[in-house]
């Protein structure tokens, strides 16, 4: 039976998903072995059933991210943190520790929407629409929120690294990344 895979990008940039496309023609091999459930690759927004493997890109920066991550944990047997943002917060985590800031999140938003010389914002307000997911006080890693089974470092992990990992996970084989595929950048 084909393995079922779900993927999502939380507080990420979709770079890790783009990197998955870098496995090139092996995508065809992959599709022989797996069926994609919820994923931006097929635009399915909800789980249609339990999955074998969940690939999560990005950390958690808002309450929707946390909600989605809990859904992934509940529906996926194996949950994989993909990329530096999922593993340790990545670039979004820079807002957790801003030098001399009493309230880093407020300072970050003020710089982004009000104070910067490069901002044109006629309402002079920070976006606050009820439809926007509520921002968390800090950016959290996946492991801060749920149990993570595996992590693939890299920004993004190369197509080769993702293939190597997926190949082993799908075959249920214990494996490790060779030296040249371990990258934190």
């Amino acid at each position: 039976m084909k393995k079922r895979i779900a993927t999502v990008s939380l507080a990420g940039c979709f770079g890790c998903h783009m990197s998955l496309l870098d496995i090139d023609e092996r995508l065809l091999d992959l599709l022989e072995l797996v069926e994609f459930d919820r994923s931006p690759l097929n635009d399915l927004k909800r789980f249609t059933g339990p999955c074998d493997i969940g690939l999560v890109e990005g950390g958690c920066c808002n309450e929707e991210n946390v909600h989605t991550l809990h859904e992934f944990r509940a529906n996926c047997d194996i949950l994989v943190a993909v990329g530096q943002c999922a593993v340790m917060g990545g670039l979004p985590v820079m807002r957790n520790a801003i030098m001399h800031a009493e309230d880093p999140l407020r300072e970050c938003l003020e710089t982004a929407y009000l104070d910067s010389d490069y901002v044109l914002n006629p309402t002079n307000s920070i976006p606050n629409d009820p439809a926007l997911p509520l921002l968390l006080d800090k950016v959290y890693t996946l492991a801060d929120v749920v149990k993570v089974d595996y992590q693939i470092p890299g920004c993004p992990p190369s197509g080769e690294t993702l293939w190597h990992t997926l190949d082993a996970l799908i075959a249920g084989r214990q494996d490790r990344l060779p030296y040249e595929l371990i990258k934190y950048d």
Binding site: Q84, G89, V93, M94, I98, M99, R176, I182
Partner: protein, 237 residues
């Protein structure tokens, strides 16, 4: 040279002479013991503990422990590799190590050590995410202390080679940090030509020379090509 003796390192015979540390003797024999706070040309201080080995069953720092005749030293054992991985992991968790945006990435010894030790597994430690200052006051040099691992290599280079004492430890315990001899770096007599500022002194991206970031393309950087310490060992986790 004075009389020499031998000791065993992971089953191999290493010869040493009195006064040599385990690491010096191993280096002379071409056997690499991982290290971060020790580097050639500086006095060893044994603070990072990444060079931890067992000598006759006791854990010691190979860079400061004098070699002893007929002793049995273990280095690349699962137990010792586990210690090293935990030590390196804790360094990653104690500071703010954002490899994707760091100009030292690819030539960073901390990162290279993690690669060598094969650290890819989920972590059991929390990320401390400390708020630490960036000192860009000097015209030629930036200090991004988010990346500092307190190895003290800049301290020893400035004190023992440059004779300037620009850097020093301040504080204790978790509050310990490397301070500069002035309100900020621009107030000190540091110069871009100091040994302490040389690229091979800071093992991470804390001491940065302005105007020359990302000078080696990805794929050609120091540790893109070969693991730190040469031949890869102890990868298994």
């Amino acid at each position: 040279m004075a009389e020499t003796f031998t000791f065993s390192l992971d089953g191999g015979k290493i010869s040493a002479h009195p006064g040599q540390s385990i690491m010096e003797a191993a280096d002379a024999a071409g056997v690499y013991i991982p290290r971060l706070c020790d580097t050639e040309g500086l006095k060893p201080q044994g603070s990072c503990r990444v060079c931890v080995v067992k000598m006759n069953g006791r854990t010691v720092a190979a860079c400061t422990q004098p070699a002893k005749a007929d002793s049995v030293v273990e280095s690349e054992t699962p137990e010792i590799l586990g210690y090293r991985r935990d030590l390196v992991r804790m360094l990653f968790h104690e500071g703010n190590h954002l490899c994707p945006i760091c100009e030292a990435s690819g030539r960073c010894e901390l990162q290279a050590m993690a690669y060598r030790l094969g650290i890819t597994q989920s972590t059991k430690y929390p990320y401390l995410q400390p708020v630490r200052p960036v000192d860009a006051s000097h015209p030629d040099i930036v200090l991004d202390t988010n990346r500092c691992i307190l190895c003290g290599r800049c301290i020893r280079a400035s004190r023992d080679i440059d004779g300037k004492n620009v850097f020093e430890y301040v504080g204790r315990g978790i509050h310990k940090k490397v301070g500069v001899n002035g309100d900020n770096l621009a107030d000190t007599n540091v110069s871009i030509d100091d040994r302490a500022i040389h690229l091979d002194i800071c093992p991470v991206g804390c001491i940065i020379q302005k105007g020359r970031g990302f000078f080696t393309p990805i794929g050609k950087r120091q540790f893109d090509l070969a693991p730190i310490g040469g031949e890869e060992k102890g990868h298994e986790e």
